[in-house]
Symmetry: C2
Subunit: 192 residues, 2 copies
Amino acid sequence: VHERPQSRSVALRSSYAQRGMSLEAEINASNQYYLANHIAVIHKKPTPVQLVKVDYPKRSAAVIREAYFKQPSTTDYNGIYKGWYIDFDAKETRNKASFPLKNFHEHQIRHMRECVDQGGICFALIRFVELDQMYVFPATSLFEYWQRQLHGGRKSIPLTAIIQDGYPVQYGLNPRLHYLTAVDQLIAAKKH
Amino acid sequence: VHERPQSRSVALRSSYAQRGMSLEAEINASNQYYLANHIAVIHKKPTPVQLVKVDYPKRSAAVIREAYFKQPSTTDYNGIYKGWYIDFDAKETRNKASFPLKNFHEHQIRHMRECVDQGGICFALIRFVELDQMYVFPATSLFEYWQRQLHGGRKSIPLTAIIQDGYPVQYGLNPRLHYLTAVDQLIAAKKH
Ligand SMILES: [Mg+2]
Ligand SMILES: [Mg+2]
């Protein structure tokens, strides 16, 4: 029997109506707070899209009629804070004891390595959903676990290691995620 | 007579097949050179798109079926170079004696102001197409002309001022645009 391909079509209310929305929305709200209060300038990069067909109706805005999501070549967030170049990605897991490395892509690790080599402050913002805990985990520690994994080591970072090398992020009202306070600690540790 | 709206549909070979392509392609090629040679990590941000309708066919990639271009809230390029946060926009003009300020948007100026306040290196990469000349023009000088314009001053930056406050960019084979050499001069001037 020839199986007919099915497709479903989804009308989105906004570009946030995608997977990972809540963490992204919280980070964006925090970044807006930081921006409005002249604390830092950090933005999420737009999702890259490969355009195939664009309509240009007379008298109205161009309409993209066929396009595809592209694999981002960098991390999701970057910007500047107290003169420091900041670069990070945000990830969450429902695991309770470790963070699976498969959540990272080779190109994100490579990009963070390049930024660290230039003197940037790079990290993963890791949320343990079930534990309601969040950490700024330095890229330099992440690289160690990534390398070990490539050489047959474990495929996840234990929570104990994240607690030891990382910095906890406090929840608040404004900003929602006070992640730059954890970044202050990362910067202080880097200076020593 | 009811005028029927006409529309034209354009099949794009790639997302570069848009206005301003050649300058953008040259900057991207230079950034790839800088990246491959561990000189700097600078990327063009993807064009932001507002998704309206996305199809998820079984067994193949999601297809964007309706989307619109959004106004970017920042500049086009950012990254890190020798520890410095770098942020700029690229512009070109066919004018021979001045650069029209209407090529900048209020939100780009505001964004560069915020980045300069955080200690970033911000500038406009300005190409005079007919003169075959290009300059790194510091954001701090740009702000002065922008402010004057808002208070009834001239609506363009004279080439003489761009030559005086800016740094010429040399063309080469690899990288095509050696704009970081001009940025070195901007950084050196900032330190004094
Ligand atoms: Mg992500
Ligand atoms: Mg531009």
